[in-house]
Symmetry: C2
Subunit: 253 residues, 2 copies
């Protein structure tokens, strides 16, 4: 699912004007959240991107933190506003705070173009330290929610991500590194493997995340040695000798 709509420059400016009138009162200055939403379905790993209204430029879904809102709560709210997803395991993995991340010429020009003449538009241009979270979801379960200032929503295969604004490409790379190391240790995969699954299904997830193929027997030995899976009954399909075992994650109490 995705949406794509264009809005008139006037409509965009009115929306921005409303937002900027209250934003400095409502949100923390100088700190934002960005989310890397990995989508997995049909053996492919994708990432969710939004297009800045009336520009050709894509960014990660992000947002601001209420002055009275906890950081983790803000991240969940932003995720829900952008995707409709609730109760998702979101992992904070990195805070990006180089001075130059908001100073790219193209970022300045884009912000100038869409918000330049609006009062308080310098609020967008301040330096933001961005706290980054990632999640791994089944992308067919996501209900895109149109949000102000973003006029397109799409899932892009991880190896086909275009040049994004800010340091968002680098943030995706850091998220992927962390996802790979978390996959064995944290419940990041629980959202999408269902209650039970076969070893072959789990291998597909690992292959998508690592972007490479594994040998079946090696994969099975490695995964079982981690002691995170519980083996259940065989999945009967009429040919008992070929039925694969079902597994589930051992939930830590």
């Amino acid at each position: 699912m995705s949406y794509q709509k264009d809005i008139g420059d006037n409509e965009l400016k009115e929306g921005l004007k409303d937002f900027l009138e209250t934003a400095p009162e409502i949100y923390l200055s100088g700190v934002s959240v960005d989310t890397v939403i990995f989508g997995f379905h049909n053996d492919k790993l994708k990432v969710l991107l939004l297009r800045f209204a009336n520009t050709p430029y894509f960014v990660l879904p992000g947002g601001y933190i209420g002055k009275d809102e906890d950081l983790d709560v803000a991240a969940l709210r932003v995720l829900q506003e952008r995707t409709g997803l609730k109760n998702i395991y979101l992992e904070q993995f990195y805070t990006s705070g180089t001075r130059k991340r908001s100073e790219e010429k193209i970022v300045k020009e884009t912000l100038q173009k869409i918000a330049g003449s609006i009062p308080h538009s310098n609020w967008f241009e301040q330096r933001f330290v961005s706290v980054c979270y990632y999640a791994l979801v089944d992308d067919t379960q996501v209900n895109p929610q149109p949000v102000p200032f973003f006029t397109e929503f799409k899932w892009v295969e991880i190896r086909r991500v275009p040049k994004l604004l800010f340091d968002h490409n680098s943030i995706i790379n850091k998220a992927l590194t962390r996802l790979r190391s978390d996959l064995n240790e944290k419940p990041v995969g629980f959202n999408l493997m269902g209650d039970t699954f076969t070893m072959a299904q789990l291998q597909k997830l690992y292959e998508a995340v690592y972007q490479k193929e594994f040998v079946r027997t090696n994969f099975q030995r490695k995964i079982l040695s981690l002691n995170v899976l519980e083996r259940l009954e065989k999945k009967y399909n009429g040919k008992a000798h070929k039925a694969p075992y079902l597994y589930r994650f051992i939930k830590s109490s």
Copy 2:
């Protein structure tokens, strides 16, 4: 090494006044850095704490981020100002942003007591989102640097950390969890193992970090299976048959 000095209330207020006169111009508002400096020496793991001037309360070494300063650079500068240490591997591990972290009654009272009547003292009382870094160093190599507003510096064994202000106890626990998982994968131990070391020396480090003892043969098998160590010549000590092997970390190129 440690220092402990008391200063008069007037001297403290003058120092705070000078700081607060320029801080809002120099530093980002609302974002700070905190550092968890683990010290290892004589088989013990400690953590570096500072005492708030003229109060009984300890905190982690922390500081602010220059408006034109990268986040990682600020963390290294804060570390150097507090400890004299340069060229240390600092790992960003967590950003703490609950609303209530600065709202503890005792925090408010302490800030009120030391800075209450000074102009702009509300700068201290704003909500700070804190980006947290940790390092692992040889604590005998640290040269404590007296800094304004902190009148004591000490190393405390990890199991004897007192109740700290803000959410600093929770931050230490998160740092320790991360240190344990990083120890096998990142150069956090390089600072203090020297160029070469014996398996027994390395085991002492792991035992201090994990706060438990390992069986020698199991430890050796586990560590060697990680493929991060290179085995060198035996260390001759006259009794060749008992000489232990020396190892070094394989530096990734």
